[in-house]
Amino acid sequence: MAVCKCTGEQVESPQDVQLNELLDHYRGYAGGLIPVLQGAQEIYGYLPAEVLETISQELKLPFSEVFGVVTFYAQFHLKPRGRNIIRVCLGTACHVLGGSKIFQALKDELGVENGGTTEDLRFTLESVACIGACGLAPCIMINDDTHGRLVTSALKNILEQYK
């Protein structure tokens, strides 16, 4: 549900409309829960609690069971994920060379904590144990690209490359 900016009323967002179409397709379809969850994640980018509750009601499955299925499979996310995943290496080499400073700078820049996602869903920030690029310490990975020998002042330019 979205809230209408003019009237303050609860209105069906385009996403909710899509979810309803999806549910219509799978209502009464045996074993439809997983395809519905996959479809819902496509629509919303993740699986918000309210969506899970709606799915549970519409498919007439206990909410606890729906939650159990969601948390079993690696594909499903309960929190929004960014379009770009930043992994900050906090392995020994990076730590010694100021990896945590880089991490802090990124947190400040993006306004999120570890595991958090920016509101515009542009970035998700995570820390990792070691990405095996100690020679480039301190380093981060954005999606599949490694950026090494970082200084905090370089971060802004690097982030600019990812929309």
Partner: protein
């Protein structure tokens, strides 16, 4: 259209005409695409258009030579077709100029040639005699890299759907007997005789029966099923149809892991085309036999490769295995009798029906018949997909097909069967590959992943890697697997970090045996295999880690010390600059020294030294 024979002659004509035209074919399996195949395709199309060449540009799937991706084949009528390896967009012009316009193969880029009736070119290995293919057979993989997987015409023209055409005129039990005669055993790992399984489902009482294809290939280092689905999707569908006809099922489900989007796309396309031609759906080929197939995409859980967990997942539940019995043959999907086989098993069926069970049984060993597809990965020269007759030795695969260990290093072990399998050492290279000999050696066939390791691999680290995988993928239902694999992993981590104690080895063995004998499903029961086999064949490495606090392979960082050799160091200072923690000191042009207390063993210094003066000890 109900008569396949009539349909076939027209399609065969078209196919022949296609082969009689100059063609450039790009390998577009997932591997080819990852290597940049689509860019190569575009470059070729641009080049052909710019030069206004009268050449068809087509694509195929993976021929199996992953080491040669992106691969491009050029076929001019009357001459052998040549498969080129490592063709990046910048090589396209050279290739087209040389081979298409100049009519001379570009020998230095060529990997193999497929001669057919034509006279071979000089200086290019002929496929059947080339190192990679000489010991292979091409049965279930025969269309891979040869036909367009998105064309039902290519499939039919190469004998496709002849098996279902033949099957629907046969007695159901005769089909099952033919499969029994072939000796085909489940290719997903378990090795259960396929004919017997079909017989059980045939005999099971039920108003509704299902065919389920397990395409949830999840072992690290295994991509046989993906290659078959991407390269010959119709064969899998046809195999399922034959199974459906013989056991009395009209519905099939393919459970395919979501990480295989291209396979799912090609399967959906294949289903659509087959339905359009009356080869699937209601009243197939006028026989009165109905059969439909739908795809169910997995959601990211390795355990769903276990057949009962897979069934639960199709039903929309958590993928936790069920207790057996009842077996799926009696109570499977929705508690109905279900015939569950994997991709490669189904893909073998059309060949067996067309050529007869005896033909299939003529390949292989006494108890393991036919051929098996393997994926070769790790530290070898030729990584890729191969199909070999059962009974070939591991040594032949390593030395003849895989081209030996990379960089001339020494072979140490091969992991067969993924995380459920085990490591086999040099002494076992003479082992003929079949289901039973692998099990007796402590490994298993698994789905067919072979990961080769060289002398620089630490076997404790390998066991740790696989346990980390199974531990993360444990479903959590039974105690031995949920809690036990975690403790195995923790013990292995302690050992590799130098905190191992004398009791660790007996404790590992004891716990591994208990998990093996008491876990609920095959995933749990086989999870300790990497620990048990490495302990069996490489116990000395465990002892070195525990007793001497050394990693003989020089892998485990906590157990390493980096030393600069005095007589080699010239004091150039490159290592000093590379060290992220300033642990290296030394005046210019004087021997440098590593401060062990500061060193974090990242190894960044080693490659910087041009004189190889820094060693791990």
């Amino acid at each position: 259209m109900s008569n396949l024979k009539e349909m076939r002659s027209g399609i065969e004509e078209q196919y022949k005409a296609k082969l009689n035209r100059p063609r450039i074919v790009v390998g577009l399996g997932t591997c080819g695409i990852a290597a940049g195949g689509n860019k190569v395709m575009k470059a070729i199309k641009d080049e052909v258009a710019n030069r206004k060449l009268d050449v068809d540009v087509d694509f195929t799937s993976c021929i199996g030579m992953c080491f040669a991706e992106p691969a491009v084949e050029i076929a001019l009528p009357g001459t052998p077709s040549v498969v080129y390896g490592g063709i990046y967009p910048d090589k396209v012009a050279q290739l087209i100029e040389g081979h298409v316009i100049g009519k001379k193969p570009v020998t230095e880029l060529a990997a193999i040639q497929i001669t057919g009736d034509a006279t071979p070119f000089d200086g290019i290995p002929v496929m059947e005699k080339s190192g990679y293919y000489a010991k292979q057979v091409r049965s279930v993989t025969s269309r891979l890299g040869r036909t367009n997987p998105e064309s039902i015409g290519d499939y039919i023209a190469t004998g496709g759907y002849a098996a279902i055409d033949k099957a629907i005129s046969m007695d159901r039990l005769d089909i099952i007997n033919e499969i029994k005669k072939s000796g085909l055993r489940g290719r997903g790992g378990g090795g259960f005789p396929t004919g017997n399984k079909w017989q059980f489902v045939h005999d099971a009482v039920g108003d509704k029966k299902y065919i389920v294809c397990n395409a949830d290939e999840g072992d690290p280092g295994a991509f046989m099923d993906r290659s078959v689905l991407e390269g010959d999707p119709h064969a899998v569908l046809e195999g399922m149809m034959v199974a459906g006809y013989s056991i009395g099922a009209d519905e099939g489900v393919i459970y395919c892991r979501a990480e295989y989007p291209l396979a799912i796309k090609r399967l959906n396309l294949a289903i659509e085309e087959a339905e359009k031609m009356g080869l699937m759906g209601d009243n197939i080929l006028g026989s009165g036999f109905n059969f439909t197939v739908r795809i169910k995409a997995g959601a990211g859980a390795f355990v769903c490769g276990e057949e009962t967990a897979l069934l639960n997942s199709i039903e929309g539940q958590r993928g936790m295995p069920r207790v057996r019995p009842p077996f799926p043959a009696h109570k499977g999907l929705w508690q109905k009798p279900t015939c569950l086989n994997n991709v490669e098993t189904f893909a073998n069926i059309p060949f067996i029906i067309r050529n007869g069970g005896e033909w299939y049984a003529s390949m292989g060993t006494e108890k393991s018949k036919g051929s098996k597809v393997f994926c070769l990965t790790g530290k070898i020269n030729n990584t890729g997909l191969c199909e070999v007759p059962m009974g070939i030795t591991m040594g032949e695969i390593l030395n003849d097909i895989a081209g030996g260990i990379l960089g001339g290093k020494k072979f140490k072990a091969v992991q067969s069967g993924g995380p459920s399998g085990g490591c086999l050492p040099t002494e076992q290279l003479g082992l003929p590959i079949d289901y039973d000999s692998l099990i007796s050696a402590g490994a298993m066939m698994g789905s067919g992943g072979l990961v080769f390791m060289d002398e620089t691999t630490c076997m404790v680290d390998v066991a740790k890697f696989f346990l980390n995988f199974t531990q993360l993928e444990s479903c959590g239902k039974c105690t031995p697997c949920r809690e036990g694999t975690k403790r195995l992993l923790e013990t292995l981590i302690r050992i590799t970090e130098g905190a191992g104690t004398a009791e660790d080895i007996p404790n590992l063995e004891r716990l591994a045996k208990v998990i093996k004998s008491s876990a609920l499903c095959a995933l749990g029961q086989t999870a300790p295999n990497p620990v048990l086999t490495t302990l069996r064949y490489f116990r000395d490495e465990y002892e070195a880690h525990i007793n001497d606090k050394k990693c003989p392979a020089g892998v485990c960082p906590e157990l390493l010390t980096f030393v600069i050799l005095k007589d080699k160091c010239v004091g150039c200072g490159l290592c000093l600059k590379a060290c992220p923690v300033s642990a290296i000191a030394g005046e210019k042009k004087e021997v440098h020294k590593i401060d062990g207390a500061k060193c974090i063993k990242c190894g960044a210094c080693v490659p910087t030294c041009k004189l190889n003066a820094i060693i791990k000890a």
